[in-house]
């Protein structure tokens, strides 16, 4: 059984045929070469596979690719415009929020969804928002700081 699927990923249209058992994460990584989303646990506990589905953070390891036809997906590869980093990406670098970097794509995507909805979150809101993103390196301190500073940067960029 092959199912035709139309996807808009990072603003680009894709048509492909998938089998019902194919997971969105694996389609992104293996078929479309979008390697930013990672496998970390496969059961929705680590957040490394986080992408945005119609602007909302979701776990691509728990989504059948066949089920999201016609929808819009944004991955880490799609958030910098014209090679200019997203303010959150800048903030992650400046605050030292990246260590091994394996959690970073998922973490940035969750943070982006948070700021899109709540442009000025407090520490508690940030900590709650990323509670499903496991980072084994940083102890989260610099990540929380980066999201906070990213929110300020985003506000400034919006003013421009």
């Amino acid at each position: 059984m092959m199912i035709p699927v139309e996807l808009k990923i990072n603003g680009k249209d894709y048509s492909l045929n998938v089998k019902p058992n194919e997971l969105l994460l694996n389609v992104l990584r293996e078929r479309l070469n979008l390697l930013g989303a990672k496998y970390g646990c496969g059961i929705g506990e680590c957040g490394a596979c986080t992408v945005l589905l119609n602007g909302k953070a979701v776990l691509s390891c728990l989504i059948l690719a066949a089920s999201v036809s016609g929808q819009e997906i944004t991955t880490i590869e799609g958030i910098s415009e014209n090679n200019k980093l997203h303010p959150l990406q800048e903030a992650f670098i400046e605050e030292g929020a990246i260590q091994c970097g394996f959690c970073t794509p998922g973490m940035v995507m969750t943070a982006k969804a948070l700021l899109d909805e709540n442009p000025e979150p407090g520490y508690d809101e940030i900590k709650e928002a990323i509670r499903g993103n496991l980072c084994r390196c940083t102890g989260y301190v610099n990540i929380v700081k980066a999201i906070k500073s990213g929110s300020k940067k985003l506000k400034e960029r919006r003013k421009e």
Partner: protein, 782 residues
Amino acid sequence: MSKKEYFILGKDYPRKEDIARVTGKELYPSDISLPGMLTGKILRSPYPHARIKRIDFKRAEAMGAVCISYKDVPDTYFNQRLVSVPKATYKDWQILSDKVRQVGDPYAVVAAETEELASRAARAVEVEWEVLPSYLSPEESLKAEGELIHDRVYLEDREIPIEKNIACTREIVEGDVEKGFKEADVIVENEFVTPRVYHCQLEPRSCVCRPEPDGGITVWPSTQALHNTRILLGQLFDIPLNKVNVVRIPGGGHFGSGIHTNSVIYLTVAIALKAGRPVKIAPSREEDIYDHCRYPTRYTLKLGAKKDGTLVAGEMNALVDIGSHHIQAFAFLGVLAGWWHSLYRLPNMKYRGTAVYTNKAPTCAMQGYGAPQVTFGVETTMSMLAEKLEMDPLKLRLKNYVGLGEIFWGQGPSVRSTIYSDGVEELLTKGAELIGWKSRPDPKSQTGRFRRGIGMARGFHTSGTGAPVPGEVKDYSTAMVKINEDGSVDLLTALMDHGGGTLDAAAKLVAEEIGVPFEKVGISPADTRSTGYDVCTHATRGVYCGGGAAHEVARMAKKILLEYASRILNAPVDALKTMPDFERNEGIIYVDGMPEKRITIAEVAQTAMNNDWGTAIAVKSIRKVHCPPAYTAYFVEVEVDTETGEVKIKKVVAGSDAGVVVNPKMAKGQLHGGFYRGAGMALLEDTDYDLETGKLTNKGLIVDYKMLGSADLPDPEDFITFFADTYEPTGPLGAKGIGEAALNPVPAAVAAAIQNATGVWFTKLPILPEDILNAMKERENG
């Protein structure tokens, strides 16, 4: 010696890898894909202890899969970890065996065109098992009557006898312990237990291997040890080392789980060689959790002190449940004694360590390598002694700690060196001030449901494993530094960055030494064919040893550069200085005292090339003859809900003595991360086994391997970090390590904070709410 003003060190720059990592473009082993690549799956034992009676690949092969079992691979005995010298390396591993020793033990590998097909083929392999009696605790192991877990273990080429599943033992004695205890006025003795923590590095350990047409292999592995992996693969598959190319590729976290060459690496090579095609094996989380974990320990610790607080004697007996294999339990038993003996001066000590096999996941290094385990017991005991002596715990520590000018042997009895920098007093004094140590509650007078507690612990890690005389551990690094014709610099080394900024630190040391802006130093891609041996990026040796080698070699390259410059400037080499010109983004060479007589490094390099003088380039292997202690101290404030036993971390003060701090922001990040993992070890992390099935009770799923999350940790403002103002004279430009020291005292500090709130000293980790509630009840009931 004093610190000087540096151009580059101590300043924060965006890390060189950061743009790739934040845009999703960094490639990790599980991201690598090659033309014609197959995907492999490792078949793993469902039984804790069993032997294969029959294995049949017919159905799997009919599906197009390539398959291997023990029959298809060399039967060499080896050890996955080659950090120790051969005479101290116990060999009990085989690539594949007809015997499995734990649930999750690899027994076969299949590879097919897609991961799905490989997975189905794996399910189609037929195996008939002879199930053997299993040993799931060291106590059971020591009573073994049936078949032992290992019947053959080699030390060099000598088969050594194995009794009662004992992997190895070590005894270390200094002074006269009986006499020592007789002199003691106060003695404290307890049993301490520490958990079998899982590294849970975010990327399951993975590997890609491409067989080359010339009979060689190229390998992209998750590892911390490129060169040891190269050497082991060459030995196992009988490939000349100049045809084994192991490529440096970032791993999604290590924490010690890749100091050795994990089975996924040589199994990928084995199946790729059989298939004659590139193969990737990227295991699932469930597989990874059965592959490695921290050494759990159970030990009695007895310390005796005189009335004035002087320690006089100590005795320690440790039992270590090492799981299914040696990944250097012998070295581990040595460092247990080393960490203990090097925390506080002990004129008389007696240590006995026993490592026992069980049918569980193999244990290996994890951040601290025994130090968090031992520091937990030692620091707790020191605080208990302070209580008995009615002495301030800080004062007791300052009186006894091993510091400046003294000899220590943190990395085991064969790695002795002298201490030349020591920020302990500053760490304790400043940390105490920042947390409000003097106004900490008195546990005896605490009332109410929610109780605050403040606790502290100190510790250290060695910066590498160097010592004046080579001992049981190998420790050297090789670097090459090349000054390019445009004034930029290439640094080539097999050192790795696990996320802590090690490579940037090395590049900064090179930039500082040569006198160019940081951006001018590039970190070359590295593999084992283009780099010299580097033992491993482990043991908190990255900056001190690896960076130290880079720095030393930069000095050599600079010497050549200055020699060229002296010809141009017509001034002796000794009169020449260099400095970065940040505005023009280049390096300058000038005559000391005559700053107008200057030339850019680019001009010198170009002139040297055009005149056929050559390139300013140097390469050398460098062994450090010290491993200075990187000291840390943690002060932690918690709130305990005495009705539910829940513990909240309210505030953390972390102090580090890392010598000259090369990357301040990354160094702080080490303290944050070290605290988080240490607090997890103190409060919840452990892997338990079902004693019936031999399976992990969490079934390998991290839904039941809980770690502290963002929402369980304090706000950034409540995490204070600071650095002692020290200079390490044996280090590159005054620097020493930080990495593992950032975790070592944490479990002890958390336990002390809980004691301050509840009045109960916990001697077993993790300290669960269940335990706290029980202990509080026991206390109430007298």
